[in-house]
Every structure is written in C-alpha cells, then in structure tokens.
C-alpha cells in the first residue's frame, strides 16, 4: 500500500468521522422545531452544546488534509462548487452563531429567530453535502488543467438532489436516535416516534438511491470484482440499517445509535470505493480525471503529513473520549447551559 492510498483512506476516515459526529448534531438541528417549549428546545440544544464545535473540526481538518495531500483536487472541487460552497459557509456561520446567540437574550422573538436559523442552516448544510457527493459520483466537466467548466445550476441534477435528500433523512434519523439517548420522559417518547418516521423515509430513499446508482452509474460497483471483500461493506450496511428498527423495538437506543453510525460509515466507504482511485471524476472527458496519483502532493509531503497525523490523532482520540465521557448521560440543563 503506497502513501497515496493511505492518504485516501485517512481522508475517508476523516470524512466518516465528520459524517458520524456532525451528522447527529446536524440532525438535532433539523429536528429542532419538533421541540415545542423553550425548555424542550434547550434540552435539544444542550444535548449537542459541548460537542458540536469539536465535531465540526473534523470538517476543517478534512479540508486541510485534502489541501495538503491532494491540492489539485482541493482546488478543483472548491473553485468548481463556488456558489454551493458560499451557501455552505453561510449555513455553517449561521448554525454556529445561532447556538451561541440564542441563549444570550431572554426574549421569545429573539429565540424564535435563532431557532429557525439553527434549523434552516442545519438542513441547508446537510442538503449541500449530499448534493456535493452526488455530483462527485456523477463526475464533473473538467478541462485539461482540471478546471471545472460547468456552472452552478449544472450541479442541481436529479441524482445529486436525491443524494442530498438521502443525506437529510440519514442525519435526521441519526439525530433522532442521539436525542433518544440524551432525553427522558415525554420528549424521549416523541423522539422515539420520530426515529420510526425518519428511519422509514431513510429506507425508501436509501433503496431509491441504490437502484438509481446501479442503473445510472454501473461503474460504481466495478471494484467489487477486484475486491470481493467489498461485499462485506454492503452486508454490514444492510444489517446495520435492518438492526435499527429491531433495536428501537426493544428500546435499545445505544444499539440503534451504533447501527446508525455503522450505516453512515458504510455509505462513506461505498462512496470512496466507487470513486477509487479517482478523487474527482471528469465527465465526459475521463482523461482529465484527478486521481490519488496525479492530484497528490509530493511523496515527501505525504510522509511528513503521515508523521503529523501519527502524532496528532492519538491526542485527538484521547480528548474526544474525555469530552464525550465528561458530558455522558442525559442532558442536564443548568445555569451554565445554553
């Protein structure tokens, strides 16, 4: 296994980490209007209060690592998705500050405003992530220098929008399971109900997307011939999706949450496998595609970065664990909460 493959895998790890961790807090944001009273909304917000910021760092680090390891892909995707990224930035800014600002002033109008900003920005960000993934699956029109030659509207095809909706339903499901773990009483009952709804919608979209992908992008499963073990990912995915209702039925929310995490990780793996060894597929000129070899940094940089990651990741894992452990258990709203 060469350094380029290692970095492809590490980026996959960062992306899965981001999708799993920020996934549930984006989900909490989308479900936020379901909480009716201010007390309920505070429980929602404080369920992610101490951790959403750290979760978002996974995205920042993914961006930095993509820049460092595969600068050509970073430049192509970020400049090609220009307006989409600007919208994403607006969403991420509003999300961050709506959490911080909401609690600072006791006024229903003020809180209502930031509640909607929180929900809307979570929804928009998730949709945009899904649309981006859908477009990468389809391939982008690139010129010889790897420059995107399409426009913003070209990114809004049926397939990317379907993947966008899949992402929304998946994070909403993930978020509702997380909320079940963190809430009690009536609110937990309501969330339990919503787990069923979101799971049902996710299941339908999951099957639709799978069929659409197989019909439209048969190349997505080419690697299954070369790497038969890849079938295990599909099996894990199906088992995890199927296990969620079973766990819900038995009120095993922890198990449902782990299953939902595995579902997300498996989908990221399938996405990466469909793409490999490309990072940005060029369509209709496949020769201009950016691969993990022609878009990569020098061998020297990849190895330096591996050392940096080797030193940094154990620390990151340690404090992620410490933080989650410190804030384990049901949400307690106290004077220091949002």
């Amino acid at each position: 296994m060469d350094l380029n493959v290692i970095w492809f895998i590490l980026l996959g790890v960062l992306l899965s980490g981001y999708a799993i961790l920020d996934g549930f807090d984006l989900g909490v944001g989308m479900l936020h209007p379901l909480a009716r009273t201010d007390a309920e909304r505070r429980v929602f917000i404080n369920s992610i209060g101490p951790i959403w910021d750290g979760n978002e760092v996974w995205l920042v680090t993914f961006g930095g690592a993509l820049f460092a390891a595969f600068p050509e892909a970073y430049a192509t995707i970020f400049s090609g998705y220009y307006l989409a990224f600007m919208l994403l930035l607006a969403a991420l800014i509003f999300r961050a500050v709506s959490l911080e600002f909401r609690s600072k002033v006791h006024s229903p109008a003020w809180r209502g405003l930031w509640d909607w900003a929180f929900c809307g920005s979570s929804l928009l960000a998730t949709l945009l992530f899904g649309v981006a993934v859908g477009n990468v699956m389809l391939g982008l029109p690139l010129d010889e220098r790897g420059v995107y030659t399409g426009g913003f509207v070209d990114l809004l095809g049926a397939y990317p929008l379907l993947v966008g909706l899949l992402a929304v339903s998946m994070f909403a499901m993930h978020g509702s399971i997380y909320l079940c773990l963190k809430t009690e009483g009536e609110l937990q009952k309501k969330m339990r109900e919503w787990m069923w709804h979101t799971w049902g919608v996710f299941l339908v979209l999951y099957m639709l997307t799978t069929m659409y992908t197989l019909a439209r992008l048969p190349g997505a499963i080419d690697h299954f011939d070369a790497y038969p073990w890849a079938a295990l990912i599909v099996i894990a995915n199906v088992v995890a999706v199927a296990n969620i209702p079973r766990a819900l039925y038995h009120d095993r929310y922890g198990q449902a949450f782990v299953s939902s995490c595995i579902t997300i990780a498996a989908l990221v793996c399938l996405f990466a496998l469909a793409l490999f060894p490309n990072l940005v597929r060029s369509y209709p000129e496949p020769g201009n595609s950016l691969t993990i070899y022609n878009a990569a940094s020098s061998h020297k940089t990849l190895s330096i970065m591996l050392i940096i990651a080797g030193i940094g990741l154990p620390f990151v894992a340690t404090y992620t664990f410490v933080i989650y452990w410190t804030f384990r258990g049901k949400v307690r709203v106290d004077e220091h909460s949002y």
Binding site: E56, G64, A69, S79, Y82, T301, V316, I323
Partner: protein, 514 residues
C-alpha cells in the same frame, strides 16, 4: 465611478479576502489574549480558592466563548477561500502550505474546541483542577493555532525549504497549453516552518494579541469603575490586565524593530513602501507624511533625517534600497502600506505612553480616581483592534504584487543583485503573482454575490455580537463578585492577604475602605 467591467475577479477576490479576514481577525487576538487571562484567574482560584476568582473566571469565560464562536464560524471561511477563490495559488503551494493548515487542524483546533466544552459547560461536572487544565489547553490551542497560521503566512512572505519544480504526470512533465505546470514542493520541512520571518512575525503577532486581550479586559473594567458597579471585581481585573498590557506594550516596539530589520533584509520593497522611501540612499524615518506615488515624494513629511538608516544599519548615512530599485510592476502600493504601517506604529507608541502613565498612577495609588483616564481606557480597545488589523494590512499589502514572494537575490556580500537597468532581478518562477493566483472557474458576478452575502452576514454578526456583548456587560459578573455586606472590609483584606494576594492588591482593598 466604478462599473462592473472594472470588478475583475482578482480585484473582487482580494476585496473578499480582505473583508472576510479582517472581520475574522477581530476574534482570534481576543481569544488568544483572553485565554491567558482565564488561565491566570483559574490558576489563582486553584491556589487561593477565593470565590471572587472563580466568579471572575466564569464571567470572562462567557465572553470568551462568545468571541470564540464567531472566530470559529468565520475561520472556516478562510480555509475554504484558498480553494474557492485562489485555486491556482492552492495548486502551486498546496504541497507546502497545506501541511501547515492540516497541522493547525489536528494540533490546535481539536485541542481548543474539545477543552472549550469543559471550560464553558463543565463547571459542575469536573473539579477545579481539571477546569484549570481545560483553560490551559484552550489557551495553548489558540496559541498553537496562531503558530501554524503564522508559519503558513510567513512562508508566503519569505519562502524557504522548498523548490519549484515541474509537476509530473505518469512519469513525465505535465504540459498544459505548451507550458509545463510548476509547483512548490517541500525539501526541508523544518526550514519551511522556521523560514526567515516566522519567529519575528509570530512574536509580533502574539504580542499584538496579548495587547488586544489586555485592553479588552481594561475597557470593560474601566467602564464598571466609571459606573461604580462591580468595582472590586473591576479593579482586580484592571490591575491584572494593566500589568500584562504594560509588559507587552513595551515589548511591541522592540519586536517591531527586529521585524523591520528582517523586512529590510528579506523584502526590501516592502520596507521602502512602509517608509515611503522612493530613492535609494540614506533613509529618513517618517513620523508623519502623505506619500505620493506620482511625484515619488512624501508630502507634508515630518522625518528624522537618516533615522531609517540608523535603525537598519546603525548609522545615519548607510543607503537603504528604495522603490526605484524595483521594476514598476514589482512595487507594492505605497499609499496603503505607508498609512497602515505608520498608524500601527503610532498606536503602538500610544499604548506605551498610556500603559506607563496608568502604571505610574497605580503606583501612586490614584489610578482609579482619574475618570478621564478611565474613559480613555474604555475606548483604547478600539485602538488595539485597529493596530492589530493595520499590522495585518501592512504585512499583506506590502507583499504585493506577490502572493508568494520570490526570494530576494543577493550576492555574497549581501548586496542586491540587479539587472542591466538597475532593477532587482527576481526570478519570477520562484514566486507567484496575486493576479495569476486566482481561480479560473469563477466569474466576477459570483464573487460579487459572495461579497454581498458576506457583507450582509458579517454586518449582522457584528451587530448581534455587539448587542450580546453589551447585554453581558450590562448584566455584569455573577453575584458572588459583589462585596459581602455582612463581612467587614478588614476581614476581606485579611482574607486576601492570607490567600497570598500581592501587596498591591491588599493595598487596593485598603484603598477601597476609604
């Protein structure tokens, strides 16, 4: 009158970058500066178990968290903009610059954001030791973050530890449109990190952050003192911040001097623009002036003759390379560079005077009696903010027209290598011009739309930030900070003294018993 045709992508992208980074840069210096304050307060609490320190730490933590949230939200924009607007730049420098950004993410952001959770939400969940540790880690994280970002920026200013080579594709040089595609690749990682300007610039940046943090705390404290509210808390906060602010205000010009020396060596065109030094020869040190690029002169200048030569070379007659040594196309814009640099220096000098005066009055024991001085401190924080921003403007505009500055060619004796026309002979392949660095796939209208969007969002954020900040300040620190009426002041003073408080604080407590 501007028309849309004049809004080219490069100009708009520069405007967008300037707008977003100047807004963002309000917050990191505040969090870096205030991080140290939090560590100090938590450390004092850990040692003395005095609830006043605990309450003070709580109050400043709330404000810290507010600043931090906006800093993070606007910081993500910066990381994305390299790719969205400066794709050619990203392709050219990714091998070198990207690792610094990734290192910032993995070493700084995780540390900061993780322990911020414990700091803000963990008061009742972890013990005071762990809470102190969290404050320390957050402060450390914000400093680490500045280290990596200054490393990345300094490499653009004075690149080192790399070589510019042809990019390979399938084992052959990659040719697009008849030209090989070039990029910078790392040769020596530590030479990249410790490039010729990193240490000087990092020191100066951190000093600027500490000054801003100190003036921010002094501003709010001075306001409480003027209003006669939370005075005990405000005096202690003010005194701590004053000591801190005085030390770093004094350190700023020293560090600034070393920076200017380094700029003279590494980026002579930038220094010439800072000083409005058009013609090579002995350099005057301008205290004031209006540089005019058309007539190559500084109008209404007040200058120390030979002062620049003295500062750089130690005598008043040594020649300093002027802007005439550079091709017109290689000269930075003089007006903005000169103005931002001089305003920064003037503000820095003002901080020295102001903090020394306040320290002197504090020693006399009359500091808080001078209401006018307290009013000055209420507003002085704006000067600190401006000085930090202006320093950034001077450093970045002074680097133009280069986004990656090519090394300055010198001979063995250290003299500039000149071409036949007497101009500095840069190797253009070693640098990258800003105008060549912009993304090819974006359109002026898209960038304009994003500027409008950021303008609206940041305007809103700024307004809400001020509103919430004001709300917090009006609300004041938690009630533990109010003097206990039942407790006699003598007891309070004794308690302070026995808790190892400094003599000056005991003195202040006495003074309050007037």
């Amino acid at each position: 009158m501007f028309t849309l045709a004049q809004f080219d992508v490069v100009w708009l992208s520069r405007l967008q970058f300037a707008l977003t980074i100047m807004f963002h840069y309000l917050f990191p210096p505040l969090t870096i500066g205030m991080g140290v304050v939090l560590v100090y307060l938590e450390g004092r609490y850990l040692r003395t178990r005095d609830p006043v320190y605990h309450a003070a730490a709580k109050f400043w933590t709330q404000i810290f968290a507010l600043n931090f949230a906006i800093g993070v939200a606007t910081g993500i924009v910066m990381e994305f903009e390299f790719g969205t607007n400066w794709a050619v730049y990203s392709r050219f420098v990714g091998d070198v610059f990207g690792s610094a950004l990734a290192a910032e993410g993995i070493f700084a952001f995780f540390l900061e954001s993780g322990f911020l959770a414990v700091l803000v939400f963990g008061w009742d969940r972890v013990g005071p030791r762990m809470h102190f540790f969290a404050a320390l880690m957050v402060a450390l994280g914000s400093v680490f973050s500045s280290v990596w970002i200054v490393v990345a920026n300094s490499w653009q200013q004075t690149p080192a530890g790399h070589h510019v080579v042809e990019m390979m594709r399938d084992g052959k040089a990659w040719i697009v449109g008849g030209m090989p595609v070039m990029r910078a690749e790392v040769v020596d990682f530590w030479a990249v990190v410790f490039n010729p300007s990193t240490l000087n610039r990092l020191t100066h940046v951190l000093i600027g952050c500490f000054i801003m943090g100190a003036f921010f705390v002094m501003s709010i404290s001075a306001w409480y003192i003027l209003r006669g509210r939370h005075t005990e808390f405000a005096r202690r906060s003010f005194n701590g911040a004053l000591l801190f602010g005085t030390i770093f205000s004094l350190a700023a010009p020293i560090s600034g001097h070393f920076n200017a020396d380094m700029v003279a060596e590494q980026q002579p065109a930038k220094l010439a623009a800072f000083e409005g030094h058009f013609k090579t020869g002995p350099g005057d040190l301008h205290l004031f002036g209006i540089p005019d690029e058309a007539s190559q002169d500084v109008h209404a200048g007040v200058a120390i003759p030979g002062g620049l030569s003295f500062l750089v070379h130690g005598d008043f007659h040594s020649p300093i390379d002027g802007l005439d040594r550079f091709k017109p196309d290689d000269r930075p814009p003089v007006g903005v560079s000169f103005l931002s640099y001089h305003l920064m220096v003037a503000l820095g000098t003002g901080f020295v005077g102001l903090t020394l005066l306040a320290t002197f009055l504090r020693w006399r024991g009359t500091l808080f009696d001078h209401r006018w001085l307290m009013w000055v401190f209420v507003f002085a924080v704006l000067g600190a903010v401006a000085a930090n921003e202006l320093g950034w403007v001077a450093a970045e505009v002074g680097r133009q027209p280069w986004i990656v500055h090519p090394p300055v060619p010198r001979d063995a004796s250290g003299q500039l290598l000149l071409d036949a026309e007497g101009h500095v002979a840069y190797d253009p392949m070693q640098g990258l011009r800003t105008r060549d660095a912009v993304s090819r796939s974006i359109k002026g209208e898209e960038v304009l739309a994003s500027i409008v969007m950021f303008g609206l969002i940041y305007g809103l954020l700024g307004a809400v930030w001020l509103y919430v900040l004001n709300h917090k300040i009006q609300h004041g620190p938690p009630p533990e900070l109010e003097p206990h009426v039942t407790e006699s002041l003598l007891d309070a003073a004794a308690a302070l003294a026995s808790h190892g408080a400094s003599l000056t604080e005991a003195h202040d407590a006495d003074a309050e018993g007037r």
